[in-house]
Amino acid sequence: MTLTLTRRRGVETAPPARRAGQRGADIRAGYTFLLPWLLGFILLAVGPMLSSLYLSFTDYNLFEAPTWIGLENYTDLFADDRFLQSVQVTLSYVVFGTPLKLAAALAVALLLNNATQGQGFYRSAFYAPSLIGASVSIAIVWKAMFGDDGPVDQGLGFFGIHLGGWVGNPSMTMPMMILLTVWQFGAPMVIFLAGLKQIPTELYEAASMDGAGPWRKFVNITFPMLSPVVFFNLLLETIHAFQIFASAYIISNGEGGPAGSTLFYTLYLYLRGFSDFRMGYASAMAWLLVIVVGVITLLFFRTSKSWVHYGGDAR
């Protein structure tokens, strides 16, 4: 204790020259250590972002020099039926898939939170799909499972429900894709479970004394206390959902079919950029995505003030 005290004092009373030297050394060291990230940030993020902003105002096919066309790409987008369809497909996936996935995650987390035994096992078992769900392998399996006479069709047939194959049916591909994302509820569930463990049990005891039932405890204690975690999961899962690619690509053979029902935004962007080589058009799509995701993030933060409760003082 005395040792640290004298050491601390030693630093504080160091002559100004040495402290200035230390500061200079810190600045040099700081930027040296930061160099890998800084290089990556400039060369792989900021630079490309600016150049894609520029490209979005041009006609560019990768082989000839880009020609400036102003806002034409953006105005063309809104006259492009396939683009509008990709927006609709992606939005319905985000709007239905994400809340369902989070609801499943929260429900299972609440169930597991009361477990006295086996919680570790269940947690791992439910988490496993999150690790493999976005892979090509699982997309192939999903496609086989939801095909004509696949196990899903057969299983539903057992209950007298005959939907046929989901893969080839434009009105069933979206439920199939949503099931694929809901299946991966494990990752947000694990985060919810960690959040639930932070809620002091005294709160529930006090509520029980006041005669609160399970529903009132959930509404008045669990949800408010968990709201920062809900917010975190909602934000990340929403942004994540906008970017689904591999599963959609594999399930539709890279075409977004049938009838454009799996033409997700990123898939259409990829097709425009790397099949049609309309790099300017694809860049405009990319920037629209950034703007939409940015606006959604802002909206989330704005509205969060009314329903997210952070412990202690206001931020």
Binding site: G40, A115, S124, I138, W183, A187, L269, F274
Partner: protein, 303 residues
């Protein structure tokens, strides 16, 4: 409503009033049985696709579609024999090697670059640090797709398309902010006295980082390595953009090729190859599940 004499009446009565039935042992057992029944049923539903995949890989083609049962009398490894032959004149072993090169490269690059950058954010004071930190956080939320076109153009002009450079360079430049963030958070929780003491003893930042921080960061380095490996192993878009020759394909691209060329004619081999492609991920999960699940719950990492 009479309180047991051992408990002061004033304190206990409020509780007793609203908790009239203390749970009996039988009640607790029943609740536990009900919980485990529900949880196990849910596990069965959730794991069904994975089990179906594994058992289908062992079934003859005729039994895969049109038969939701998991069990078959005709299990064999034939599908795996076909799958190991590979596709397009390239063996599956080659695809495996390619995936491994990319994944190991990603792990090395990520651990090196993210830990060094995280040290700057967490432990060194310099002007611009908080601004850059904010920007780093912003890139966490940035859709990756906004940079793929310019990046492709750059790498194409450098003649680096169809090499592993575009797939690995980002890992060596800490482009995945998740790992930097994870390590910054971890380092901030390490006691500051350690580096102050070392500093008094004359150690510079390089020594403090190398001999004090790195050894203490082992848990963060391990979970980062696991995730860097798995994400690289499963990555599809990157290789799809940059690789053209099948000899260089990692497994996800090989699988796509397999799907394209066989269509639905050989489901068995296709699923067997899907299983092979997931084996390392599943093995990692079984061995490191504690690390993985703990990593997710403390750092909020996405799977």
């Amino acid at each position: 409503m009479s309180a047991p004499s051992t408990v002061p009446a004033a304190e206990y009565s409020t509780t007793a009033e609203y908790n009239p039935k203390p749970e009996t042992t039988l009640g607790r057992t029943l609740r536990s049985v009900a919980f485990h029944t529900a949880a196990l049923a849910l596990v069965a539903v959730v794991l069904y696709p994975a089990l179906w995949m594994i058992t289908s890989s062992l079934k003859p083609n005729s039994e895969i579609i049109g038969n939701p049962a998991l069990w078959s009398e005709n299990f064999s490894l034939d599908n795996f024999v076909t799958a190991l032959d590979g596709i397009g004149g390239v063996t599956t072993a080659q695809f495996f090697t390619n995936s491994l090169i990319l994944a190991v490269g990603s792990v090395i690059g990520t651990v090196l670059s993210a830990s060094v950058s995280a040290y700057a954010f967490a432990r060194i004071t310099f002007p611009g640090r908080s601004m850059f930190f904010g920007m780093m956080i912003a890139t966490l939320l940035l859709p990756f797709h906004v940079v793929i076109i310019p990046q492709y153009i750059i790498f194409q002009q450098l003649g680096l398309v169809d090499t592993y450079v575009p797939l690995l360079i980002g890992k060596f430049l800490a482009a995945d902010a998740f790992f930097v963030f994870l390590m910054v958070q971890f380092m901030r929780n390490l006691p500051r006295d350690l580096d102050e003491a070392a500093r008094i003893d004359g150690a510079g930042h390089v020594r403090i980082f190398g001999s004090i921080m790195l050894p203490l960061m082992k848990p963060a380095l391990i979970s980062s390595s696991i995730f860097a490996f798995i994400w690289s192993w499963n990555d599809f878009l990157g290789p799809l953009l940059y690789l053209n020759t099948p000899e260089k394909y990692p497994l996800p691209l090989a699988l796509r090729l397999f799907v394209d060329q066989t269509q639905s004619s050989d489901y068995g081999a296709m699923i067997a190859m899907s299983v092979l492609a997931l084996l390392p991920v599943l093995a990692f999960f079984l061995v490191f599940q504690r690390y993985i699940v703990e990593g997710v719950s403390t750092q909020g990492l996405k799977g």
